[in-house]
């Protein structure tokens, strides 16, 4: 635990070094939110609601999911980098599991971005665009739980991508394709309410809607009562399945390590 916290703190602190960079990346998130809201405003025109979804719900969806995605940063290239420079050999003999140290680093980044990127970009968006408040205070708390579970699913996906570094020389293309699929199917780029029903049904059988779509819907009160626990269960289930796959890959992969440099 002590080692875990040490990794976490280092990642947190290293974020504070480049301040200009940090400022610009918050602006970047706000620009994204602004663009999507402007497009949808033009699409809505004079309509108050389309498919029984109001324009305010669309903006709230974009603000929350884009702000979340700016926080949920996972580095898909940790293991690949360690294989390339050979430092994986020292990591294997350390008394802390490599995956635990990766998680600690990711969490350090997340805590930093949560108190900076997330809160700032939401505040700026509320001032300039406006968004719906949570349905109730309880909804807000339930949303936070959904958000944590959503991150777990995304993290488990990232671990799978990282582990594939044991078999292929460069995970960049897999990582990129994963990000495309996540961005389209989890509701960052288009609110899933507007997709055709067949596509929506297919997505409900994938882990992607667990990441951003479920938390946002909890926040808006579109998922209520028992459905919330059903949604949580779905998120947990996907986390368990993906984590298991990542685990199998780790156990198989670490037997075939060969170090190319160092």
């Amino acid at each position: 635990m002590k080692a875990f916290m040490a990794y976490l703190k280092i990642a947190f602190k290293s974020n504070t070094i480049y301040r200009v960079d940090f400022l610009f990346s918050i602006i970047g998130t706000c620009v994204n939110i602004f663009i999507y809201c402007a497009i949808w405003k033009a699409l809505y025109g004079d309509n108050i609601s389309v498919n029984s979804v109001s324009y305010e719900m669309v903006t709230t969806n974009f603000i929350l999911s884009l702000a979340m995605s700016s926080v949920f940063s996972t580095n898909d290239f940790v293991i690949q980098q360690k294989l390339w420079d050979g430092s994986i050999s020292t990591d294997m003999v350390r008394p802390i599991d490599l995956r635990v140290s990766i998680l600690a680093r990711d969490l350090g980044n997340i805590f930093f971005k949560l108190i900076t990127h997330f809160i700032l970009s939401v505040i700026i968006s509320v001032i300039f665009i406006g968004m719906l408040p949570p349905k109730s205070f309880v909804c807000l708390l339930l949303y936070v739980i959904g958000m944590i579970l959503g991150f777990c699913v995304l993290w488990a996906l990232s671990v799978i991508v990282q582990m594939s570094a044991f078999w292929i020389i460069n995970v960049w293309s897999i990582s990129t394709i994963k990000n495309v699929v996540v961005n389209v199917l989890s509701g960052i780029m288009i609110p899933l309410w507007f997709l055709p029903d067949t596509l929506k049904n297919i997505i409900s059988f994938t882990p992607f809607e667990s990441i951003y779509y479920i938390p946002v819907n909890i926040y808006l009160g579109k998922i209520t009562g028992g459905e919330i626990f059903h949604a949580y269960f779905k998120q947990l289930l996907w986390f368990a399945v993906l984590f298991y796959i990542g685990n199998v890959m780790w156990n198989k992969g670490k037997r075939r390590i060969f170090v190319q440099g160092g």
């Binding site: 994204n32 394709i177 990000n179 389209v184």
Partner: protein
């Protein structure tokens, strides 16, 4: 004359080496190009899915939007063959590798440009752009004649130079700020995101920004409105549709002066 020939043969030599190094791992190279293609197609997929519910966005239908997109991709595909060195310039400064460039008996900018080209992006963006252009131009039924073709080619070249100028300015800023990833993100990639949609849907300050400050509107919006014979909104009528190549050359010239100015203030980070 001999000097030009010399520079040209050196450029070819560099290109051969970069192609060899980028395609060192063949399967990986194919996968990377495919991944770039998919990543860039995301915007297109999203537009397509959105337009299933809505018929048009401010008077632009799906095919017209795709034509707008295609200009961005085609120009980027060409841009990245020549100017990857500027895009990734930050790393040369960060790692101190740029010092080596300064010691060689050639212009620093020539070496930076010649020594790198991102072939995966070129193939991914270029293929997507050409597919989109052919598909959408076919669907909106543009009447092709000699002047239209000349117009398209000159606008694309102008568009490449506009973007190259932005890269060059950001690269020059690396001399002052060591990390410029986010500035580039803001000045180039975010502006480009705006450019994916007709700028007439945005508030006035965005239109001004896209026309006069970072003139990305000249890369795709004005050429597309000309080809589609659309009203370009509250702008200076048709004249803006014809000056893309001029803007490109002027901007690149100005950016080159800024580069020269900044280069004199370069302090190495060491290694």
């Amino acid at each position: 004359m001999e000097k030009t020939y010399n520079a040209f043969s050196l450029f070819l030599c560099y290109s051969k080496i970069t192609i060899k190094s980028w395609f060192q791992y063949k399967v990986d190279a194919c996968m990377r190009s495919l991944a770039v293609f998919f990543r860039e197609a995301t915007g297109v997929i999203v537009i397509y899915l959105t337009m299933l519910t809505f018929d048009e966005i401010n008077g632009w239908n799906t095919n017209e939007l795709l034509l707008l997109f295609s200009f961005v991709y085609v120009t980027y595909g060409i841009l990245i063959v020549f100017f990857t060195g500027l895009r990734d310039f930050e790393f040369l400064v960060n790692t101190g590798q740029f010092d080596r460039f300064l010691l060689r008996p050639r212009g620093a900018l020539f070496q930076v440009i010649a020594s790198n080209s991102d072939w995966f992006a070129a193939i991914g963006h270029g293929a997507l752009g050409i597919c989109l252009f052919i598909f959408s131009a076919n669907n909106v039924q543009i009447v092709w004649n000699f002047w239209n073709i000349i117009y398209c080619i000159s606008s694309i070249i102008g568009g490449v130079f506009i973007q190259a100028a932005i890269f060059l300015v950001v690269a020059s800023l690396s001399f002052f700020f060591i990390k410029t990833g986010s500035i580039r993100e803001l000045l180039y990639w975010n502006t480009r995101k705006f450019a994916n949609y007709p700028i007439s849907i945005f508030p006035k300050f965005v239109k001004i920004f896209m026309t006069y400050i970072i003139p990305f509107a000249f890369v795709n919006y004005f050429p597309a409105t000309y080809l589609l014979d659309k009203d370009s909104g509250e702008f200076l009528g048709k004249t803006f549709c014809y000056i893309t190549p001029v803007i490109g050359i002027v901007m690149f010239g100005a950016a080159y002066l800024f580069w020269n100015y900044s280069l004199k203030r370069y302090k190495s980070t060491g290694n």
